[in-house]
Structure formats: structure tokens, C-alpha cells
Amino acid sequence: MTTLIVIDQAPYGSWAGREALDMVFSLAAFDQPAALLFMGNGVNWLRTAQNAKGIGQKTVEKNLSAAPLFGVEKIFAEHEACKRFMPDTNSRLADIELVASVKDLITRYDHVVFAG
């Protein structure tokens, strides 16, 4: 049973992405194969140098960098959306696998889940 958790909403403005992350960590904690896909506005999670202290939130970049440690197998990002929001590759977090086709990727997982 493999699960792909999809985040398509921007960070900070809503809580759905954080709750998606809790889902993927939960699967990993129970030793279930799980991966993350950022698509659309969701790719903005992957920008470097985030600092959410001023708006009273925790920076999501830190949550995300913990993903491999917690057993999340892979972090994918939609290539098209990355080019749109982060054309400069230096502004993207490392160890992200870009995918050209979301359509193809989602067929490779038993479960494809949005958090909200």
C-alpha cells in the first residue's frame, strides 16, 4: 500500500498543507510507504529562506526538511509550477524530484490524498 499526499495550496494562508504534512508523517511513523507531491500554488512550500516569525507562525521549511528523517520516501514537485513561481533553481529546497507529468505520477500510487 503506497500513498501519495498532495499539497496544492500555498503555505501560511491556510492550514491544509500543515495537516497534509501530519498525514504523511503519520504514515511514515507506522512504517507505511508515503511520498509528498507539491503542485500548483503548493510548490511555494519549497522556497528557501522562509521566515514566518513575523506573522506568528512556525516556518514550514523546517517541518519539510524533517520529512526524510521521518521516513517520507520522496518529495516530488510539479516542474511547470516550479518554473512559474521559482524560475531561479537556487531559490528551491534541495532533494526535490521534479515531475513533468502529475497525471503519470499519480498512477504509480495506490492512494492519492489531499488533506482538505
Binding site: N41, N44, F85, P87
Partner: protein, 96 residues
């Protein structure tokens, strides 16, 4: 900040690019209007698919949160204090 401001309506936009209301807001702006991007709307600055009007500013703390300190020119960034000043100066305000 002030040189990038218009004298018409003040539009405050918090939706991310691609949201139907984001699109509606941009097409409802008149020439002398001013646009303030807050929350997820600040993502319009790096978005290569969005063309922003001349009189656009963005909340600095929302830019910082999203790693976009460098995506806006200095005179495009405003504090909450400056947002309050903008609401003083504009009797007509629309929150999208």
C-alpha cells in the same frame, strides 16, 4: 512607498494567484487605484504568469514568511503600520 500609490480605491487582496477572486480583483482595478497584496496574494510577485498593475505594494511580513524578501523592491514593501496609513488616505477600500 508613496510614489507607488494611486489616488483611487484601495484594493486589499489576500487570495493566491489563480483563485477566481484573485483574477476578478486584478481585472476590476482602475488606473488610479492601488493594490495591496497580503497573505497568499504576495505570491503574485514571483509568479511569472501574473502581470501586476503599477501601483502595487505588499505586506513585508507576508513576503518574509514566504521567502520573498528579495522578490519585491524596497518601495513595494510595506509594514502593517504603513497599511494603516494607506487606509487613512483612502476612504474607499475593498477587501477581496
Amino acid at each position: 512607498m508613496n510614489q507607488s500609490l494611486g489616488t483611487g480605491t484601495l484594493h486589499i487582496l489576500n487570495k493566491a494567484p489563480g483563485h477566481p477572486r484573485f483574477i476578478a480583483c486584478l481585472s476590476a482595478l482602475s488606473g488610479q487605484d492601488s493594490l495591496v497584496l497580503i497573505e497568499d496574494a504576495v505570491l503574485a510577485l514571483p509568479d511569472t504568469d501574473t502581470a501586476l498593475p503599477e501601483h502595487t505594494v505588499a505586506l513585508e511580513l507576508d513576503l518574509d514568511a514566504r521567502g520573498l524578501s528579495g522578490a519585491a523592491k524596497t518601495d513595494q514593501k510595506i509594514s502593517h503600520q504603513q497599511l494603516v496609513q494607506l487606509t487613512e488616505q483612502h476612504p474607499r477600500i475593498i477587501s477581496w
